[in-house]
Symmetry: C2
Subunit: 344 residues, 2 copies
């Protein structure tokens, strides 16, 4: 992050604070780290001296075992109003936090309107040394963020396909193989016209799933219907209703998240169609929600909390100097519940 | 945050950087802020000089219009694995981000295991000047965080009832009044045995809702059944099943979130009970999910994104020196959909 080039002179060190406060270096360390071992009075005096000397977090962090900012950053280019709809990001953050909290790290989060603004935020964080590393998610096909991080040497992990990681460390799930498995499962049940209700088309992983869906359907000789949405249940409901009430309605639907699958199930029920006797439904990703519908939803299950934790561990490795590598996370597995069955 | 007591001597200022780099103060400001107006070569030279002088974010921030860390902090004492289940927090974060992103602020987030650890994190953030202010949520009855923030002068906004804000600025919703409205609505429909499926009992707002529920039921002469959970649909399902299959089953259920209400609806369907002909169901808070069940769920609707944005605005005011005050956010309103009706 460029800080290693700094000379050590001119900084306020804990030795300076110890000298001025008339205490040991250990006492200063205890006081600044909030650990037991100094009285409240001494702690207060040390903090006052630290203030007087202009001691500041970055200085302190560099002095104290090169701990730097103890912060990882994540910029999200999503509409804030849609963020709460699906559970993926909250579970992913929670997974990051599992590892971060073990080491006392925090997550710096910013929600912006576009990939361009996301890049600006990364630039600013890098310039002002606000983070020790960043997690890059929701990559688009012409995403400039990985290239920026590589160029300036900002430690980063790309969450997504290695083909778009720009040579950085990536953690990815093999979405293509999972999609092929889903299509084969439905074809084996006799479905000959299968719809995929996909999420944001600008995202690389959406395109990878789209391609695998179309390709596997072609290989199996079944018809593939692609219905694009923005991940919201409102759009999931709309495209499902249009497909089910149109000519040559699909008999199976694969949804790109859980809430759209719930919306699709509701549409089928409203239209008086049996699930799975007349329409089969599959959700991707699985969530607790999928286990609390009637019937329960067949889903591609991926432990997103564990995924987030995995990403955090890799970022700690990158910060520690590990060479770039692509890590395949566990693949989503098909959990067959009550919403899929043979075609009548 | 204690920084105002610091003397201005001894800090690296942009004037120091300008002098050493042989450029104008304006050029340094442009370079450090990443704005156009300096060539890439000049920008590189300025950043190099800033590095040599030990320029660091906190120093820079204080020099540049007292912008400080441009970060608000939030510590969450919740089980990471349950965080993704309900949409409240993701929508709340999104609302904070709406206001933060307008001013280029970031949100520093840490998930911890207990209120005690949350306090430790706040201490550390304060000590290391990592945030300009904090948002305090999920307050418990003996919560030490508000007192800590007040004591050390850390700008803070309490999200919750003014009775536990410890004299700090608070933003609250009148949950008691909303709960009374819900109970009256159900009693007016003829329900005489009403269950409340409540969330974490340690939280102050859970207790406030509990009390209002019991009190209003008593006033109306209807029976109140309190069923405690941890907000997860697994527990929501379990207590609903036990209540519906036990003696003197309630005819109406008020759930403390959306996913438990969906789980409750599913239990009723599995038991062959009509909703709302035999069982009425109400969710708190409303979410898109509630509009995509069959029947759609009657819910207490609160714009959580707007709530988060409101909290962020108040925290900006506090940082700017506003006096503590209690702000009532818009009250949750009862949106009547298909899951509530008269008792048979």
């Amino acid at each position: 992050m460029g800080t290693s080039r700094r000379p050590s002179t001119g900084r306020v060190t804990i030795a300076d604070i110890a000298e001025r406060a008339g205490v040991s270096i250990g006492a200063v360390s205890f006081a600044l780290n909030g650990r037991k071992g100094v009285s409240e009075e001494t702690r207060a005096r040390i903090l006052r001296v630290a203030d007087e000397l202009g001691w500041a977090p970055s200085t302190a962090a560099r002095s104290l075992a090169e701990a730097k900012t103890e912060t990882f950053g994540l910029v999200l280019a999503r509409d804030p109003h849609n963020l709460g709809v699906e559970s993926f990001y909250m579970e992913f953050f929670a997974g990051l936090e599992v590892e971060l909290s073990k080491r006392g790290f925090s997550l710096l989060l910013q929600v912006v309107g576009s990939t361009g603004e996301a890049l600006e935020t990364l630039r600013k964080w890098h310039r002002t040394r606000r983070v020790d590393g960043v997690v890059l998610t929701d990559l688009t096909s012409d995403d400039p963020r990985a290239a920026f991080a590589a160029q300036v040497g900002l430690p980063a992990v790309v969450v997504g396909d290695p083909s778009v990681s720009g040579g950085l460390t990536s953690v990815w799930t093999d979405d293509a193989t999972s999609m092929r498995e889903v299509v084969r499962h439905l074809a084996a049940l006799g479905h000959r016209r299968i719809a995929r209700v996909s999420g944001l088309g600008t995202l690389v992983h959406t395109r990878i799933r789209d391609d695998a869906f179309a390709d596997e359907a072609r290989a199996l000789g079944v018809e593939a219907v692609l219905l694009s949405t923005d991940y919201t249940p409102v759009q999931g409901e709309r495209v499902t209703r249009e497909a089910l009430t149109g000519r040559d309605a699909p008999t199976a639907f694969i949804y790109d998240n859980d809430v759209m699958a719930v919306a699709g199930l509701t549409v089928a029920m409203e239209l008086g169609l049996g699930v799975p006797s007349e329409v089969s439904i599959i959700a991707w990703d699985d969530s607790v929600l999928c286990e609390h519908t009637l019937p329960k939803l067949t889903a591609l299950s991926h432990d997103v909390v564990a995924f987030g934790a995995h990403v955090a561990r890799r970022l700690f490795d990158v910060v520690a100097g590990a060479d770039p590598e692509a890590f395949l996370d566990s693949s989503p597995s098909l959990v067959i519940r009550g919403s899929t069955g043979p075609i009548r």
